[in-house]
Amino acid sequence: MEFASLQDLCLLLISSAIRRCICSERLCRLSVLLQRSPASDPPLVRISISDTGLGSCIEEFQNLKCPVEGILAETWNGIVYVRTTNICDKEISCYQLNLKENVTTRKPILLPSNIKHGVKFSGTEVCLSVSESIDVLLEEFNCFFQKILVLKVPNIAMEVMADGQDVPGSRNDAVFLEKFSPSSSFAASTLDHLKFGLESYVLRHGSSLACDSCFPNRDNLRSGGGMVCEDKHKTTKLVVEAAVVTTEISNPTNNCFRAGCSNTKVLCFKDFAPCSISEALLKALTGIDWKRYGLALECAIDQRSHALLKWEHMPLSFHIHIVVHCYDKHVFEAMPLLQKTRFDKKLIRKAVKLALDDFKNKHAGVLLSADTLKVSACSRRNQEQLLKLASIFHLQISKFAPDLAKSIAGLVLYSSDMDFKEECLAILGLQPHQSEGEIVGENIKNKIISAIEVNDRRQQGTKEVAPLLFEGRHELQFVDDECDEDGLDPMDL
């Protein structure tokens, strides 16, 4: 696995540490300690990334490829020190590797082991020294962990510590272990944690502090999740998880969101670490039929650390947040990640669609398809949504349901056949005395809205079959027969 920068290397090391912690199925700690070495010239910062997960194997570091040129070549000598032990080991193994050496000829230098004195524990510490500002590193690690928290890995407490050498004795700590909600537990799926993590991220607006003014609690948030996996090898599955959270703000002009911005930031993770945006992700996002969810995508832009989805005419009060996580899952045993997980466009698209469908199932009346929204305009709940989303569709809010209901009610009530009237009222569940136009119309209207909502959700699981057998020729069919009246040209048929 190649890494091009110090950030990439640190992300790989943190990603590996998280995997080892998850595989241990115990409560673990992941620590990053930044220490300045005052004796060195130029001054170096020692980065220690340690975890109490399963012990590591040498292959995890043996195959890491470092570029021989570039800024990393100047700031780091390529040496990593590794100390690791498994729970049953009697000692802690220590070795050093020079990652700037050729991978095939690279050999670890074994260092003296440390005796565990019968204490049972496991874990790994990887250290490296770099010529870099401690403040810059601290900021970057903080940023990493803010994002990693979206994954809400349940059994890991994460911390970042930095010795403030400028002020002797001072120490900057950033502890990222969060209090979990009652619903959060070890037993919950990684997808549930991802949804919960995205909600927390949205509440904090991506920073470390929750914002009470925008979202007093999670009740203002709605979420949905989707997961797909594909067998990669006999022992490995490629898993893609996606979560969607929507927020509604009552006063869009007075909140932490940037004024005039309704774009969606799509966070992307690979193997439990934030990753840069790939072409596959962008294609997957642009390939989704967003209209099914009442959204009109203008474009998807690669912003390196995230993808930005720009919507057409999205109301400022409505925001959608999306996260995608791709990782290799080892089925039978905890195995080190030796190859980078690939992005799969189809799986990503499927996972995001499943998340959107799950969202629609859980939250009736939200993210309805553009067609459905316009049809069911009379529902109060939908009208509220329409008020928020109406401008998306370039169309005035059309009150189809009441009009349809009025016409059908008219066909019943204006009929001179009394038996027919009574029969229709009975089918509608009305008594003969409830034959006023308003009552019948309201009843039919509610049935129309109900049918729309139920079938909108039902359609999500199945590919919509065009009900028209001659779809392609359909539009050609209905020009008035007497075209001269309409100024239409029948030769266009």
Binding site: V375, F400, I408, C424, N455, P467, L468, H474, L488
Partner: protein
């Protein structure tokens, strides 16, 4: 579907409206969003004869209107509004024009064609013709010649002035007592040609009936022509411009239109003969080059599309040859171009010779 609209037919249509309404209510009560299924008809395809599966009068599939698609719901909204109006017309036994219906909800209907489409849908759903719904359209067609008939008890006698234009009756189903000593019926595409023939006293010199739909023929014109052909059993000839528009008008008379394919069996005139103008007429009648207009790219595209229609291969392959000839020559011309040598050339030479030739062929 066609026929005199009597009380029993009206009651039958109202019964079908009730059945349709009941089925929609049942669907909604079951939580289904599938509202109605409309049979689809077509009167031609563009497949080869071997692969052609066109079946006149038979549905080619169903179109299901659901509440899940905006385009369907818009269409349903219009359809139900029009159906409600029709229910009222039938109950009160009153008639209304398509235009009247349009003006009842102009903001919803947005365009006359939207109402026309809804009326077509309703005709298919109720398995009837437009006039069965008490919906009439303003007649656009003209007739003159050796013809006498009564419309709703009112007599029309064209024979008294055989060269004067009469409007084609709107309620064709109420036309009775048709009588004519004519030898044939001549259908002309354009009003200008109709007037030329009137000015030349064509019907005084030739015992015939002349009809014009003034462009694309409306339903009353086609139904009236069909009625005359059926009742009088006369040969019918058609004269159109030598261009793709003229040819398409010719096919509308003979085969019906795609939009009203569901009613084609009552509207088409299978016996109609194409009299001209053929591309070869420009040589036969020595039309000067300046009367010939080069086909535009659009003309060529339309002609090529016409050539693909299955009914031409199946029923009138010789028409295709004329059409291909026009395409090869790359020129078109109007009927009026025949007046280049003499203003009465059309009525005195062209038509008599053509008709005599056709009548001789028929013998």
């Amino acid at each position: 579907m066609a026929g005199n609209l009597g009380r029993s037919e009206r009651i039958d249509i109202m019964r079908k409206i009730r059945e349709l309404t009941r089925s929609m209510i049942v669907e909604l009560s079951n939580g289904s969003s599938k509202m109605i299924a409309i049979d689809r008809f077509k009167n031609y395809c563009i497949n080869s004869i071997e692969n052609c599966c066109c079946r006149f009068n038979l549905s080619e599939g169903k179109e299901i209107l659901t509440l899940q698609r905006e385009s369907h719901v818009r269409r349903l909204d219009v359809l139900l509004r029009v159906l409600l109006i029709i229910q009222q017309l039938l109950r009160e036994n009153r008639h209304s024009s398509k235009r009247d219906i349009y003006y009842m909800h102009p903001s919803v209907f947005t365009d006359q064609s939207v109402v026309d489409r809804a009326i077509n849908d309703i005709c298919i759903l109720l398995q009837c013709s437009r006039h069965n719904l008490n919906v009439v359209s303003v007649g656009n067609g003209l007739v003159m010649g050796w013809l006498r008939f009564a419309e709703a008890g009112r007599r029309s006698d064209c024979i008294k002035k055989p060269n004067s234009a009469h409007s084609i009756p709107v309620q064709v189903e109420e036309v009775t007592d048709i009588a004519s000593p004519a030898n044939y019926i001549l259908v002309v595409e354009k009003e200008s040609v109709f007037q030329r023939l009137a000015n030349d006293h064509f019907c005084s010199r030739n015992r015939c009936i002349v009809i014009s739909g003034r462009g694309y023929p409306d339903v009353p014109t086609r139904r009236f022509l069909r009625l005359l052909v059926d009742v009088l059993a006369l040969p019918a000839f058609c004269l159109v411009d030598c261009d793709p528009y003229g040819f398409d008008i010719l096919t509308t008379y003979r085969f019906g239109s795609m939009q009203m394919a569901y009613d084609a069996k009552y509207l088409r005139i299978p016996q109609l003969h194409w009299l001209g103008a053929f591309a070869s007429d420009s040589d036969t009648y020595n039309l000067p080059q300046q009367c010939l207009i080069p086909l535009t790219l659009e003309d060529k595209r339309r002609t090529e599309a016409l050539l693909l229609r299955c009914y031409l291969r199946r029923e009138v392959p010789h028409w295709r040859l004329e059409l291909e000839s026009m395409l090869q020559r790359g020129v078109k011309f109007e009927i009026e171009a025949l007046s280049v040598h003499n203003i009465s050339f059309l009525s005195e030479e062209y038509l008599p010779s053509k008709i005599e030739s056709e009548l001789t062929k028929g013998k």
